[in-house]
């Protein structure tokens, strides 16, 4: 008997490259190897390709192309926003606020600002695991220069109310810029700058079927962070270094595809989530964890509270059966620790470790999800798991 095809339910960690993206990239890994800064035909071809990719990312976020700065990915885009925007505004104030469950590339960048004399505070979640907006309003100050709040939570799919937060920022911290880490959001929620009311938005290609090593920081008109990388003044001086042309062309194509496919993809993953919810009910003792309530969630990311042993044990048992999932986020997996959202919901450390993350994408089939559910049931039997 041949082993069944692996079932990949970890799209929040990364996604496979779309064939269309690969095809768009290939020429730039082969004959179109020019340096975009070169002033001959090869260089000009590379530069044109970069501009076309920039225009696609601009359309995705409904901004002008000049507002898009390419980076090496989400981490660099978030670093550039947090460090660069805070530094550029330091003369206006030195108070920085970040969301309660920011990715380490936002959180640790903000902590680094403390050494530069900035004061850092963290926003809170309410008892339902939703962003506490009353608390946010109270913490915003005239000397707040940067607020960073992610758009979609990478562990639970929680959608945060950026547009409302933006109004509070405008009212109570007129000097502040609002940055959002939208790395998990592209394809799962609208990422147009104007709809969110944000000044700055980070995204990463590999989370939406693009290549790794390519991302962007999208900035409101006229906003200029201090650069982190110095050199040949590429990207209008905001990000020096010869551009990753193939990767960025891939980002552009992925942005184009996700824009066209997002509505259908969202409907599809919503159906998958409904199926998962029903399947978990049948399993007994397992349930979806939805901080902030089921209305405000990106359906592609499902956190499942499992009975019995820690989720990590489930993860490895599932993996042995060809089903790939994760415990917490891939980035947090290396660091350990308990998610603030789970603490807010009143989970103790033991229960917090019983949460397994399944994440879908447009290409996840109903059959794959069912295979995953079957594997969960089998593993439950093996582990003798009882709530």
């Amino acid at each position: 008997m041949s082993a069944p095809a692996p079932v990949y339910l970890d799209h929040a960690a990364t996604t496979p490259l779309a064939p269309e993206v690969r095809a768009a990239m290939l020429p730039f890994l082969e004959r179109e190897f020019g340096n975009p800064s070169s002033r001959h035909a090869l260089g000009v071809a590379a530069a044109r390709a970069l501009e076309a990719a920039r225009a696609e990312v601009a359309r995705l976020c409904a901004v002008r192309p000049a507002q898009v700065t390419f980076t090496s990915g989400g981490t660099e885009a978030n670093n550039l926003a947090v460090l660069g925007l805070a530094r550029a505004r330091a003369r206006l104030g030195r108070h920085v606020l970040i969301g309660p469950s920011e990715h380490p590339c936002v959180r640790d960048a903000a902590r680094a600002l403390v050494e530069e004399g900035f004061e850092l505070e963290t926003l809170r979640l309410d008892a339902a695991g939703a962003l506490d907006l009353a608390d946010a309003a109270a913490r915003l100050r005239p000397d707040t220069v940067l607020v960073a709040q992610m758009l979609v939570n990478n562990e639970f799919g929680t959608l945060y109310p950026l547009a409302r937060l933006a109004r509070l920022v405008r009212a109570n911290a007129p000097q502040a810029v609002l940055h959002t880490d939208a790395v998990q959001a592209v394809g799962k929620a609208p990422v147009a700058l104007a709809e969110l009311g944000v000044h700055s938005l980070a995204l990463s290609a590999h989370k939406f079927h693009g290549p790794k090593g390519a991302g962007a920081l999208v900035l409101a008109e006229g906003l200029r962070p201090r650069p982190l990388v110095f050199g040949g003044e590429q990207e209008q001086g905001l990000r020096s270094g010869t551009e990753n042309v193939a990767g960025l062309v891939g980002l552009g194509r992925a942005a184009e595809l996700v824009r066209a496919r997002a509505p259908a993809a969202r409907a599809h993953v919503a159906a998958l989530r409904a199926e998962l919810r029903a399947g978990l009910g049948a399993l007994g003792g397992a349930e979806l964890v939805e901080p902030g309530g089921p209305g405000g969630v990106a359906e592609a990311i499902a956190a499942v509270l499992l009975p019995g042993p820690p989720a990590e044990v489930w993860q490895h048992h599932l993996e042995a059966r060809g089903v790939f999932t994760s415990v917490g986020s891939a980035c947090q997996a290396r660091k350990g620790g308990v998610s603030p959202a789970l603490l807010a919901l009143g989970f103790d450390e033991r229960r917090a470790k019983q949460v397994l993350r399944l994440s879908f994408a447009r290409e996840t089939s109903v059959d794959e999800l069912r295979a995953g559910l079957t594997a969960l049931a089998t593993v439950a039997g093996e582990l003798g798991a009882r709530a």
Binding site: R39, H40, A41, V44, A47, R48, E51, A52, A55, R59, A62, R64, P65, A66, A137, R164, R167, L168, R170, A171, N172, P190, A192, L193, A194, E195, G197, Q236
Partner: protein, 397 residues
């Protein structure tokens, strides 16, 4: 109750003045709006409703509204909530919008506020002041203490546009781009250089409803391909302001070499420009354009004396429009920044004007001397070859 649909309403600018052409203007604007939204929201519905253009976005009303501030023909735009024209619906929508808008104001002091009703449907059973009062008097008690009525200088104006069937409630107005819908005033060929001025001239041409066909000259291989790319990017920035944009790139090197070899050096620049004028005239004929447009202003550089402008213009037949003629450089730069071309224009990239530049160009050129110099040239052949060798680029914004 489901939340009211968010739409974008656009108010016409000077279209009102154009009595019998109004239908054409409205249709042109509708077409241009569809084209402008194609990139970010291709499924948006765009409708004309008695003096308003109403966009039903699929991908977000704020993005659509921001994009439409770049489309000529609107006096102003608002993101509005569309509700049935009934008092209860209007009041509920107005109060919901008020609650949201108040989040954007500090809590420490009362917000200066008023309700402004505009009643287009005169059959509606209440007058505008009566509706104002009705809505204001029923503001929920949690919101009311935060407001101080100020009819003269409100910070927050809650607007109710009462119409037949569907009414609109909004609290903000974005300034429109003004001008006239592109395409309603014909077409012109704009001579685009890599500099700061000509893209602004192109924008001003479009602003007055005239479609801009862009023409640039390159001197490859005396200058590099970087120049062509720069012009393409300028064209892409300009393409945001009209529904479709075509850029032509014509080679000037043969002409420049011939002029260098045959004509007195001080006259080179004027002679290049006379040649450009002729090529532009050919293109205008092919594109059925009624005028040429340049970024020239008076007295900024040596070639822009009245005498030289006259020498240059005499080479062509079509009217030459110079929208920047009265601008100081600082005014042009301010506009270039606003329309998004400045940062591209200042990139250091040699253009065709730098090729074989004379050390001392003529300041007060004489037409008879231009013609005398050209007698030694195969003007017809040079112009024809340059025109035929043009490359067309369909520019995507």
């Amino acid at each position: 109750m489901s939340p009211a649909e968010e739409v974008v309403i656009g108010r016409y600018g000077e279209l009102w003045l154009k009595g019998k052409n109004r239908g054409d203007f409205e249709r042109a604007l509708q077409r241009n709006v569809r084209a402008a939204l194609a990139g970010i929201d291709p499924e948006a519905a765009v409708e004309r409703e008695h003096g308003l253009l109403v966009v039903h976005p699929r991908a977000g009303a704020r993005s659509a509204a921001a994009r439409l501030t770049e489309v000529f023909g609107f006096a102003s735009l608002s993101v509005a909530r569309a509700v049935p024209s009934a008092l209860a619906d209007l009041t509920a929508a107005a109060h919901a919008l008020l609650a949201e808008a108040l989040e954007g104001f500090p809590r420490e002091r009362p917000v200066r506020f008023r309700v402004s009703t505009q009643r287009a449907d005169k059959r509606f059973p209440m007058t505008s002041p009566e509706i104002d009062r009705y809505v204001a008097e029923r503001i929920p008690p949690v919101l009311a203490p935060r407001l101080a009525v100020d009819l003269e200088q409100p910070e927050l104006e809650l607007c109710l546009h009462v119409r037949t069937g569907t009414s609109y409630v909004f609290a903000e107005r974005l300034p429109g781009a003004g001008g006239l819908p592109v395409g309603t005033v014909g077409r012109a060929v704009v001579l685009l250089s890599g500099g700061i001025d000509s893209p602004v001239a192109a924008w001003m041409t479009m602003k007055r409803g005239c479609e801009a066909v862009l023409l640039a000259f390159h001197s490859y291989p005396w200058v590099g391909l970087g120049f062509e790319r720069k012009v393409e990017r300028l064209a892409a920035a300009l393409a945001r302001y009209q529904p479709r944009t075509r850029l032509y790139l014509a080679p000037l090197a043969e002409i420049q070499t011939a002029v260098r070899d045959q004509a007195p050096p001080p006259y080179r620049t004027v002679l290049y420009r006379r040649m450009m004028q002729r090529i532009a005239g050919r293109l205008a004929r092919a594109e059925r354009a009624g005028a040429l447009v340049t970024g020239e202003s008076l007295g900024q550089v040596a070639s822009q004396t009245l005498e030289n402008l006259a020498c240059i213009e005499a080479a062509g037949e079509l009217p030459v429009l110079r929208p920047l003629i009265g601008f100081d450089k600082s005014e042009t730069i301010a506009l270039a920044r606003r329309i998004g071309t400045f940062s591209i224009s200042i990139e250091n990239e040699p253009d065709c004007c730098t090729v074989f530049q004379p050390e001392r160009p003529v300041i007060r050129g004489r037409l008879d001397l231009c013609e005398q110099a050209e007698a030694a040239l195969d003007v017809e052949g040079l112009v024809t070859r340059a025109f035929e060798a043009r490359r067309a680029v369909d520019v995507v914004a």
